[in-house]
Amino acid sequence: MVGGYKRPTKVILSILLILGGLFAGFPVLWMLVSSLKSNTEIFSWPPKFIDKSFSMRSYIEILTDSEKVRYFLNSYFVSACVVILTLVIGIMAAYAFSRFDFPLKGVINTIIVSVQAVPAIVLLIPYLSLIVTMKLFNTYWALILTYLVFTLPYCILMITGYFNTLSTDLDEAVMMDGGSRMKALWRILVPISVPGLVSVGMYTFMQAWNEYLFALALTQTANMRTIPVGINMLMGQHTYDWSQMMAMSFLGSIPVLLLFIFFQKYFIAGMSSGAIKG
């Protein structure tokens, strides 16, 4: 059967495959190449792919600038906190949904599902006044708390689905032995669910790492800025240092890129089942 394919079809499909690859991959490659060039060489006409101005200058400049390094540290800290809190709160909520029947179950579940449709911009105006009232403006907490609202629903729905596939015999066995519910949850259910938790955790990390609007409006001073805002702030300064902006973009994309390449399977499984189950 394999030999039965017509040659022209394969040639046409191969060309399409390469064109698609260029469409998706060329801009990324161009980012990488530009980050290594000098500013004037980026806009040489005709453009060269590799030229003599190639150097790590931009990367060194960024990594030795304490203000810019701070953006990275802020992003790592905020994203890590969001992932941990989302998972802990989400696991507990998912346990309640999966193991109990209670009067408000339907209502709370509907609220959690519909939260996903609320646009961030709609919440931004009230958030600003709430966050100022709570004296959290320009703090890490302003970002962590507001991000949680957007990361939790997906986490709860995914983990509830996961827990539902695990038999209740497991937790009952623990409780028969005199263990508490908490023990059943954290010692039995959670360890079994690690693959699902990894996928949810990575998706959460990605959301937190990439968020822009709240980071822009709820923080103010340079020492609180995260990567997405930091990259954009480079654009506002005097002359455009494209090479440095590209280097910063690349450095800022590395964590998500690495996660993605190493855990592709989890990502794709999580994303597609998320899309189907909602």
């Binding site: 495959l17 998706a24 453009p47 209670f102 990567i227 990259i231 994303m271 189907i276």
Partner: protein, 299 residues
């Protein structure tokens, strides 16, 4: 004994709420209260700015609905969303079918898949800044197009009001299709092999098997992701804000940008809240269809 039992019964009733308490508190404070607040602001004159704003009923809505800038934003949003979603479906479908053919080796397909998904992993500011650089006059896009004689060397893409919206939509298409591709690919792999084979026996052509087997099988997934994407694109802010800020001459001003400018550039929080409530209603309507669709899929 009786007392003990009723006590444990009570405990069993309370336990789920204990587990849910962090979620409930968070959702109350940062979701229910804000939505109440934004609706309240939308009925007030000078909301937030003054300590005791005047309650003006629907005045803000009347003002907004008779403002041509609002309708301009509605139109821009409509074009941006429909073109993006349609193109996402088509591109996502084409790439998924390409990656699902038997013509290529598994390793080729794995590498191609990683490359095809790339645009999706970057954050909006990276995408904005990268495309801004590529779209500069005499930049790489102009160069590539000039090879095929499609554009002049110094073509402006983002500062020309006739093409800015199209350009931004194209960038949004570039970074949004992988989500469809991944979901469709997962769906395609779930179609049983014998469905294809029976159609091959019938002498069905490729095109027919696509129309009569693949499309119906994928329909639930397609509708779900299209609705999710519709809601996401409806509220997209970061990409447009960083690439054009809504300009030139408001040609790329979507509802989100309009709200942001009203609130944070001109401090008209009441008007901004009214537009926000309208946007929220739009999203809720789509979400209701989405939830209904999900229920149908489950049944």
């Amino acid at each position: 004994m009786m007392k003990n039992r009723s006590k444990s019964k009570l405990r069993r009733k309370i336990t789920p709420y204990l587990y849910l308490s962090p979620t409930i508190i968070l959702m109350l404070v940062l979701m229910v209260v804000p939505i109440y607040l934004i609706i309240k602001y939308s009925f007030q004159n000078n909301a937030i700015v003054v300590a005791d704003p005047e309650f003006v009923w629907l005045d803000n809505y009347k003002k907004i609905l008779s403002d041509s800038e609002f309708w301009g934003a509605v139109k821009t949003t409509f074009v941006f969303v429909t073109v993006s979603v349609a193109a996402h479906i088509i591109l996502g479908m084409c790439f998924a079918l390409l990656l699902n053919t038997k013509y290529f080796k598994t390793r080729t397909k794995t590498i191609a898949r990683v490359i095809y998904v790339l645009p999706w992993v970057f954050t909006a500011s990276v995408i904005a800044i990268l495309w801004k650089m590529m779209l500069q006059p005499a930049g790489i896009v102009d160069y590539i197009l000039s090879i095929f004689n499609l554009a002049a060397k110094d073509t402006e893409w983002l500062s020309n009001k006739d093409v800015a919206l199209a350009t931004i939509t194209l960038v949004n298409i570039w970074c949004g299709y992988p989500f469809y591709m991944i979901s469709i690919l997962a769906g395609l792999q779930g179609i049983p092999e014998d469905l294809y084979e029976s159609s091959a026996l019938d002498g069905a052509t490729k095109w027919k098997s696509f129309l009569h087997i693949i499309i119906p099988q994928l329909k639930p997934i397609l509708i779900s992701i299209a609705m999710l994407d519709f809601v996401w694109t409806l509220q997209s802010f970061a990409l447009i804000w960083m690439m054009t800020g809504g300009g030139p001459v408001n040609s790329t001003q979507t509802l989100s940008i309009y709200i942001y400018k009203l609130a944070f550039n001109s401090s008209q929080y009441g008007l901004a809240s009214a537009v926000a409530v309208i946007l929220l209603l739009l999203c809720v309507i789509v979400a209701i269809f989405y939830v209904k669709q999900q229920k149908k899929v489950r049944e």
